[in-house]
Amino acid sequence: MKKHLGYYTSFLLIVAASIFLVFQNNGDKNVVLLFVSLFAVSYILWGVLHHLVHHSVTLRIVIEYIVVALLGVAIIFFILNGGI
């Protein structure tokens, strides 16, 4: 677990920064979607890098991170389209 500490700390920083940036731009749908998309892309890169260094990477694992990221973006997109 200790060897993963750096990765998880960096990921928590990405999560915190993304939440902060969305809070700061809450009224602007386009900017919110942009930051959420950047959060999703960072998550994919971080996940793949993590597996590349400490585990093994297969196409299926890469796809797994992509679909979870897509789900996150799709949910935010859905809320933004339903809102005012």
Partner: protein, 303 residues
């Protein structure tokens, strides 16, 4: 029961991974949400009476709520002022026309210019802005939660207030509800209070203009050309509130996925299951981040 376990828990039947979090099923849910997003956007444009966002923001309600908060703080109530309402309306129209969301226009025009142009010769003046809210209490609560805006709301420098509530396009949002609140007083010390004076906020000015010799300059005023309603409001009721609908569905879905990934982490850890797959713990953290963002959306913003 076995079917539910198959859907929600890692076991032999689903290759040690809950069926709902198999890649193809997550992908299917994501596509469904994207498709539904486009459907809702189209429905909001074509059957807005059935599916749309319910809005009820009115100047009279904002005044009553503001004065309620002032009464709680031991302050005198503000009076609705027609000139300040004209100024607020002109400011709202200017923001829509010039596509900005700020106290100062891109051309440098300040809130005080609008107030003066409306014929209100102020000693103290202030401005609060809000967008994206769907009810009057939400607007006032958000202003009261922000120290700078709260200082304006509870300032004993002001005696008058005017509101403009308009729906239109602002940067980043094609159809938002914009609220402009202009405060003012024409003389020094007319407001009485049990409270000590409130520190003037960033969005407030005390611009008694002076000439280089220190004499007060008479401000030229230009009445705005068109009459606008003093008690503006945006009220719209729809059969299905799309904002509530999409947020409820999204939060329910996110909670479900967080729960399933959480159970996956616990079960696979307990069983020491070896899988060639991504880390459910990673997905859990990501989706919790998305959940926090989702909860914050649609709450409106103040400036």
């Amino acid at each position: 029961m076995n079917f539910l376990k198959h859907l929600f828990l890692p076991r032999f039947s689903n290759n040690q991974r809950a069926h709902l979090i198999h890649n193809q099923n997550i992908f299917f849910v994501a596509l469904l949400l994207i498709g539904a997003s486009f459907f809702i956007t189209a429905a909001k444009n074509h059957i807005s009476g059935v599916l749309g966002v319910s809005v009820n923001v009115a100047a009279q309600d904002l005044l009553a709520l503001t004065n309620q908060d002032r009464a709680n703080a031991g302050l005198q109530p503000l009076q609705m002022n027609q000139e300040l309402s004209f100024a607020a309306e002109a400011k709202a129209q200017d923001m829509f026309a010039k596509d900005y969301w700020a106290h100062y226009a891109p051309d440098g025009k300040s809130p005080w210019d609008f107030i003066k142009a409306a014929g209100y010769n102020y000693v103290y003046a202030g401005e609060n802005l809000a967008r994206g809210f769907t009810s009057s209490p939400d607007v006032v609560n958000a202003w009261m939660a922000s120290p700078e805006h709260r200082a304006n709301m509870l300032s004993n420098n002001y005696t008058d207030v005017g509101f403009a509530i308009e729906q239109g396009r602002l940067p980043g949002d094609d159809n938002t509800v914009l609220v402009v609140e202009m405060f003012g007083s024409r003389s020094l010390g007319t407001a009485t209070s049990k409270q000590p004076p409130v520190v003037v906020a960033q969005v407030t000015a005390t611009p008694v203009e002076s000439s280089p010799s220190g004499q007060q300059v008479v401000q030229k005023t230009t009445p705005i050309p068109t009459l606008v309603p003093v008690l503006s409001a945006v009220k719209k009721t729809t059969l299905i509130d799309s904002a509530f609908l999409t947020k409820t569905i999204s939060l329910a879905l996110l909670s479900l996925f967080v729960l399933i990934f959480g159970m996956d982490v616990v079960v696979t850890e307990n069983r020491k299951t070896v899988r060639l797959a991504g880390h459910s713990f990673d997905h859990l953290l990501f989706l919790i981040g998305i959940l926090i963002i989702a909860i914050s959306l649609g709450l409106g913003v103040v400036r």
